[in-house]
Amino acid sequence: MVTKSAVLSGTLYTHDAWDHYWEGTNNRTNGNLGTVTTQTLDFNAVYGFKNRINVLGTVPFIWTQASQGVLHGQKGFQDISLAVKYELIRWQLRQWGTVRVFPVVSGSIPLNNYEPDFQPMSVGLHAKTIAPRTTVNFQGLHGLYGNGSAAYVFRSNVTLDRNYYYTNGQLYLSNQVAMPNQFVYSVAAGYMGRGMMFVGTFAEQQTRGGGDIRPQDLPFISNRMNSSKAGGAAVIPIPLHLLHGLQYWFMYSNTFDGRNVGQSNTFTSGLMYQIQFHRRSAQ
């Protein structure tokens, strides 16, 4: 959380690459794709609307490419996401630390009419989403840190440019695709203190329906895309006297299990800067 009237903003670059993927549950490579690389520039901002309410926004710009084969890479802005996070509960545990509970509502909307029907090269799935989330956070007195978060993601229908499609064992005679909802959760644990954070992370995505990629087929937007990712994250303050509040962020994750997704290695790196616009004395 950032405090009232503070803004934490910056740009993160993500490099995600896979040469193995799960076709249904079958892990394979594909000579017509080689390594599929997705690069993302995320423009992020967190605004302290009140001390206990933050508004978060992200705008991603995405490039995709395949190292082999003839498929054309895609690029463009994807889906803007906005979230409101509220610190509902704060328990001071005398000799341990503080537990906070945050209800969060987040949503995302495609920023433009990008083509979703060209997986895995498309920049996104083109669904609108809204997700209630609960985050529980522990900050120990001596830097022990833990964070757990779970969300249920409702996804809107997606409109395709074609009037029929075959998925999940059925021919559908429509340009509308029902997108199965998703359950996601993540945990992080490690150290946070003195403006720094070092954590190990785990994230799980379970799609509540949808068909598998069939043998030698391309992915489809409503596939049952599940993933389990493990990795780590670090936030390190950059001690510049003229630019107090600058942070370096680094994240890594590996998709070690999945279904209808790439077996990705994902690196994120970038700078975030926190500025306090005006400070009011505590009441």
């Binding site: 003839v70 498929l71 559908y172 030698q216």
Partner: protein
């Protein structure tokens, strides 16, 4: 000073605002998420005409309507027939909701329902084999459930399947019409006034049942063409039977006679299919090498597969499969003129045009690329044209035999254009734009066969030619669709302008053979 109760109230107020806002947005999103249809919304069919002379319309494979004998039905007073009527009456007394929805589903048009099933089976089977240790195992018709499953319902396979099913159904229904008006047996609800008619009135004699003919033809042919779909196929036939026998439209002896007629006609078509050249259409490695050698001998860069590992060309000898309206000499006479030489400046210009189209594509053009993709896992271009025809057939309130005629004509032209197109493709063995210029990247998966001429263009020109004939007042819709389908392949980066131009020309030429047949088939 804040009191704890103020804090609590504030928390509750936030919780309420959160909750209401979230519920509102979630309802908005889920309100859009209506169920997605997997069948056409067909209105109950009340045919504009009974087409009582359809028994005299020209046959395509059968020698005439009496090639298959249908014995005369029992008279109305026959105790066995009376027992059939009593059975219908009893069943109608306790209809379940699922029976009622089956009746509604099948009251649209059995011909169009089976076409939906056929498209479903094509899409279900339209996946190329996966590579195993650097090679591609071939689907085995004798072990269809083994991996890779049989068939790989690619565009030529699908064109042939659509045509066999549609033409067999058409010939069988013409025979059925002959016997219907020969025997003139009234429908059950007419022979027993206590029986309700739960489908629309067709005005047709009921023996043999036209629905049963459709079920007999389709279930027999589809089980051979798409053996892994056997459950869907037999369930569909049983459901049609159940719906029709409950509807008061046909009795069980009407059904039995019709189903047997449909099966017998299907068997005659299977005999043709066994010897139409399809079995050798895949060719062998020596034949594939010869195709490349032929192009090289002409001073041309031969096509190569751009898949990894390289995949054998798709059905290179399909051009020798037996056509419906084209003789083998018609096929060779209609060969398109040679494409620009692979070393010519014109070919360089065409490749540059492809690259420019891909790199400068507009969003509307991109929409046509994906609208007409019809690649793997699809109903294929022939199926797409079936889908285009369906609402026109339904809106025209064609009788079942005329609906079957329309699909037969369209699919005859599509099959013949697949043959002509494949004959041309493998005659020239012309490389794709992305082979000639590796900097060209494509927006849809690259079809694994030579470029010239464009299959989409040829299929679309042939189908729109036939549909223009059957539905003359379509306001240019079919031609516009064909143009769009053709151009989508340039935008997608997989075809040169010449492929499209000559594909459209050749498709129209092939379509005209079917149109000329239709003009003199007795149905006008």
């Amino acid at each position: 000073m804040k009191s704890p109760s103020n804090d609590f109230q504030r928390s509750m107020r936030f919780a309420l605002i959160f909750g209401v806002t979230f519920m509102g947005i979630a309802l908005m999103i889920s309100g859009c998420a209506k169920s997605i249809p997997s069948s056409e919304p067909l209105l109950p069919l009340t045919p504009a005409s009974t087409d009582s002379n359809a028994g005299t319309w020209k046959m395509i494979v059968l020698t005439g309507p009496t090639q298959i004998t249908v014995a005369a039905p029992a008279v109305a007073s026959d105790p066995g027939y009376q027992a059939e009527l009593t059975s219908i009456l009893n069943e109608q007394g306790h209809l379940t909701d699922s029976e009622r929805s089956l009746i509604t589903y099948w009251s649209g048009s059995g011909v169009l329902r089976w076409n939906e099933i056929l498209r479903n089976l094509v899409a279900a089977n339209d996946l190329p084999p996966e590579p195993v240790n650097g090679t591609y195992p071939a689907p085995d018709p004798n072990n269809p459930f083994d991996i890779p499953t049989y068939p790989f319902s690619n565009p030529p396979y699908a064109a042939r399947a659509y045509s066999y099913v549609s033409i067999a159904q058409y010939d069988a229904l013409k025979a059925a019409w002959y016997y219907k008006f020969l025997y003139n047996r009234a429908q059950p609800f007419q022979n027993n006034t206590k029986i309700q008619l739960l489908m629309s009135a067709t005005g047709l004699p009921s023996y043999p049942s036209e629905d049963a003919v459709e079920a007999g033809v389709n279930s027999t042919l589809l089980a051979k063409l798409f053996p892994t779909g056997i459950n869907l196929i037999s369930n569909t036939a049983s459901e049609q039977q159940e719906a029709v026998l409950l509807s008061g439209k046909a009795s069980s002896s009407d059904w039995t006679a019709g189903f047997a007629l449909g099966q017998a006609v299907a068997t005659a078509f299977l005999a043709r299919a066994n010897n139409d050249g399809m079995k050798s259409a895949a060719g062998n490695p020596a034949e594939w090498a010869q195709l490349a050698a032929n192009a090289t001998a002409q001073g041309q860069i031969p096509w190569i597969s751009q898949e990894t590992p390289p995949r054998p060309p798709m059905l290179p000898l399909f051009g020798q499969v037996q056509a419906w309206m084209l003789s083998p000499s018609n096929v060779s006479n209609l060969l398109a003129p040679p494409p620009p030489s692979t070393s010519s400046p014109q070919m360089q210009q065409e490749a540059a045009a492809v690259k420019s189209a891909v790199e400068n594509i507009t969003r509307d053009q991109l929409a046509t690329v994906y609208k007409w993709n019809d690649g793997a896992n699809s109903v294929t271009p022939p199926g797409h044209w079936n889908a285009i025809a369906v609402p026109y057939i339904s809106n025209a309130k064609f009788s079942e035999v005329r609906a079957a005629r329309t699909l037969a004509l369209v699919n005859m032209a599509l099959h013949d254009s697949a043959i002509e197109c494949w004959y041309t493709k493998y005659n020239y063995f012309n490389p794709r734009p992305s082979q000639l210029d590796p900097s060209i990247k494509v927006l849809i998966p690259l079809p694994n066969f030579p470029s010239y001429v464009s299959g989409h263009s040829e299929f679309s020109a042939a189908a729109s030619d036939v549909l223009d004939y059957v539905f003359p007042s379509n306001g240019g819709y079919f031609d516009a669709q064909a143009q769009e389908a053709a151009m989508s392949r340039l935008y997608g980066g997989i075809h040169y302008p010449s492929d499209i131009k000559y594909g459209l020309t050749q498709g129209k030429q092939v379509g005209d053979f079917t149109v000329n047949f239709a003009k003199a088939d007795g149905a006008n």
